[in-house]
């Protein structure tokens, strides 16, 4: 009941001095906003990475041969990075070496890609796209399905035909009210006939698929490649994890033999699997969650100190009120509870505002970027508990000062 009285007074104070309250609570608000926003985004990305991302990017039981590790985890030394930078580019010769090393692989493909400034059709254009030169089987390997038209065929590759399958975003942008099939799009100096459109993927992965143009690798190498020989990656898919691991050993041995690497010398190529990506994400995750409590507690401590000062001012401004309450029968602990309830209400209100802003921030990130956001319930509970802890912690000293007042002195206080 006395606690309710404290809460009522606190809400009254907040409402009567809205602007002052916001300044009072700014530390708590920032801390909790940050906490919720980071957890929201990290959790969202986490779920996404674990559920879809790694598998979708790399595929299950799939590995790729690349020139150097493309997932930077920060754990490689400067020296390792420099050494990898000297690795030779992959070529068609490597493609054949790998192909022969794993004749029983379930699927096999290779590709090369580059970013491209713009793709256009008549007046319309789409910026920042990626052009992929894919071998036969590339789409199957990636698991990309065609929504309209057809995919690339072995014939396209053999004849280096100027044909393309385009992502859904590009199709929407260039052909808002007609079918793209049979149209000739312009890509730099080239004109390519659209033979198919992929199903829209959306979400985080959509950035890659929905904004890509796939052409036969032969076409790419002849008309668009910086360096004609270069191959970006050679990808092998096995039926099972065990088969994949065996195939990786075969490929590693074959490439080392072919490149005449003596025992003890490191590979001058990299075998990339989804583990590299998950490992990298795990690492980012760990860093974020290790840094989070520190950052959040700094702002909460600052916020607590601000609240404590405001409460001390509030006590000083209400000495007479304390005297009156004591004269009317309030015990020390009643006054104590009242001010503790007040500081806690303030702080929890700040936490609630922070939760709202944090969720808002998460949703904004969700809407403006392809990062998915999801607010875990536990983060809200943790935030409210933190708010309560800060409120009680910052209220103890002011409440003690208030409770200690001598009623006679307090009643005469001007």
């Amino acid at each position: 009941m006395r606690i309710l009285e404290g809460i009522r007074i606190a809400l009254q104070q907040i409402w009567a001095h809205k602007l002052k309250s916001v300044f009072t609570l700014v530390g708590v608000i920032i801390g909790i906003t940050f906490l919720i926003a980071v957890i929201t985004v990290v959790e969202g990305v986490n779920r996404y990475v674990q559920d879809d991302f790694a598998g979708a990017i790399f595929g299950i039981n799939t590995f790729s041969v690349v020139r150097r590790n493309q997932v930077q985890t920060g754990s490689e030394s400067q020296e390792q990075r420099r050494r990898q930078a000297r690795n030779p580019y992959l070529t068609m010769h490597d493609v054949e070496v790998v192909r022969q090393a794993v004749p029983d692989a379930w699927r096999f493909s290779y590709s090369v890609d580059r970013g491209f400034g713009e793709v256009s059709y008549n007046e319309r254009s789409r910026r920042n796209i990626r052009v992929i030169g894919g071998s036969d089987g590339y789409e199957t390997m990636q698991g990309w399905d065609v929504a309209e038209g057809r995919g690339l065929s072995p014939l396209d590759e053999r004849r280096s035909l100027k044909v393309a399958v385009i992502g859904a975003d590009i199709a929407e942008k260039l052909f808002p009210d007609q079918s793209p099939l049979g149209k000739r799009i312009r890509l730099g100096a080239n004109r390519l006939e659209v033979v198919g459109v992929w199903e829209k993927q959306g979400g985080l992965l959509g950035v890659i698929r929905d904004a890509s143009v796939l052409v036969p690798i032969s076409t790419f190498r002849e008309t668009m490649a910086w360096q004609r020989d270069r191959i970006g990656e050679i990808t092998v898919k096995a039926h099972t994890v065990e088969e994949m691991e065996a195939a990786m050993l075969e490929v590693e041995a074959a490439l080392r033999r072919d490149r005449k690497l003596r025992p003890g010398i490191e590979n001058n190529f990299w075998l990339q699997t989804s583990n590299d990506l998950l490992g990298a994400w795990d690492k980012i995750n760990r860093i974020l969650f290790a840094a989070l409590p520190g950052l959040v507690s700094i702002s909460l401590v600052v916020g607590g100190i601000v609240i404590m000062n405001i409460m001390l001012l509030s006590v000083a401004g209400r000495i007479r009120e304390i005297g009156v309450r004591k004269a009317l029968g309030a015990r020390r602990r009643d006054i104590m509870y009242q001010f503790l309830a007040e500081s806690s209400t303030l702080s929890v209100a700040g936490a609630a505002i922070g939760i709202g802003l944090g969720i808002g921030l998460g949703k904004t990130v969700d809407a403006l970027t392809p990062l998915p956001a999801s607010v875990p319930l536990w983060s809200i509970v943790v935030s409210l508990v933190l708010g309560l802890v800060v409120g009680v912690g910052s209220g103890i000293y002011p409440a003690y000062r208030a409770a200690r007042q001598d009623p006679i002195v307090a009643l005469r206080y001007e």
């Binding site: 309450r325 004591k326 009317l328 029968g329 006679i408």
Partner: protein, 239 residues
């Protein structure tokens, strides 16, 4: 009802000393007071006479250095802070010169306060606070904040607050000190009405015409009781 039951305040050789640096100020030098139930008492005296000290002791805001104080049959001279708070809550209704209402709370909520600390349920609090406000003719001002009320109305809210716990005594400290003479009379008639209804009233004042409402006047001088019936002084000092 026996004579002992009829005594609501009983003090014997009540002393209060304050230590100020190296000096000891003897604010009360042994005061014997007996006040019966339903008495209407005025305490008078020049400043420094010890009347505030006596009021603080009677009001259980302070404890005596020595002596005996029995309030409503209970010795209170040795109680600790929290027990004194409980006694104040149950036995004493304060009315102050400066009203001392909570500025941000409605009249009703101000009157409810003592009941909050008595642990009364909110439903019963509302009923009793309403009744107390009706008793002082403020039924139509319950939701007003103190700054929306006149001085006389504020003091009536304070009186309602003092009444709401049905205390043994109402202790009023210069209750008309901040009011004009017309409003003063209005407030005094409220006290007279309460007295007629059986309430014990102790009033600290230095205004002789206010003491005219009391049955008995206790005059203090230099920490001792000078006389027990000061009404004869009224013509002498001139009201």
């Amino acid at each position: 009802m026996s004579v002992a039951d009829d005594i609501v305040i009983h003090t014997r050789d009540l002393k209060k000393h304050y230590v100020m640096g190296t000096e000891t100020v003897r604010a009360l030098r042994g005061v014997d007071v007996d006040i019966r139930r339903n008495e209407y008492i005025a305490i008078m005296g020049p400043s420094g006479s010890g009347k505030s000290t006596l009021m603080n002791l009677i009001g259980c805001l302070d404890t005596p250095t020595s002596g005996e104080y029995i309030l409503n049959g209970q010795p209170v001279q040795d109680l600790d802070d929290d027990d004194l708070a409980r006694i104040r809550n149950r036995e004493i209704g304060f009315v102050f010169q400066t009203f001392n209402l909570l500025p941000r709370a409605s009249a009703l909520h101000n009157v409810e306060l003592p009941l909050i600390y008595a642990g009364v349920s909110s439903r019963e609090r509302m009923q009793r606070a309403r009744k107390a406000l009706e008793q002082v003719d403020l039924a139509d001002r319950m939701d007003h904040k103190p700054n929306e009320l006149s001085g006389g109305q504020r003091q009536r809210v304070a009186i309602a607050r003092a009444l709401v716990n049905q205390p043994s005594i109402i202790l009023a400290d210069e209750p008309t000190g901040n009011l004009d003479s017309v409003t003063s009379e209005e407030i005094m008639s409220v006290f007279d009405g309460l007295h007629r209804a059986g309430q014990t009233i102790i009033m600290v004042t230095h205004e002789p015409h206010i003491t005219a409402h009391a049955e008995r006047v206790i005059t203090l001088r230099d920490g001792e009781i000078e006389s027990h019936d000061a009404r004869v002084l009224i013509p002498a000092t001139g009201a």
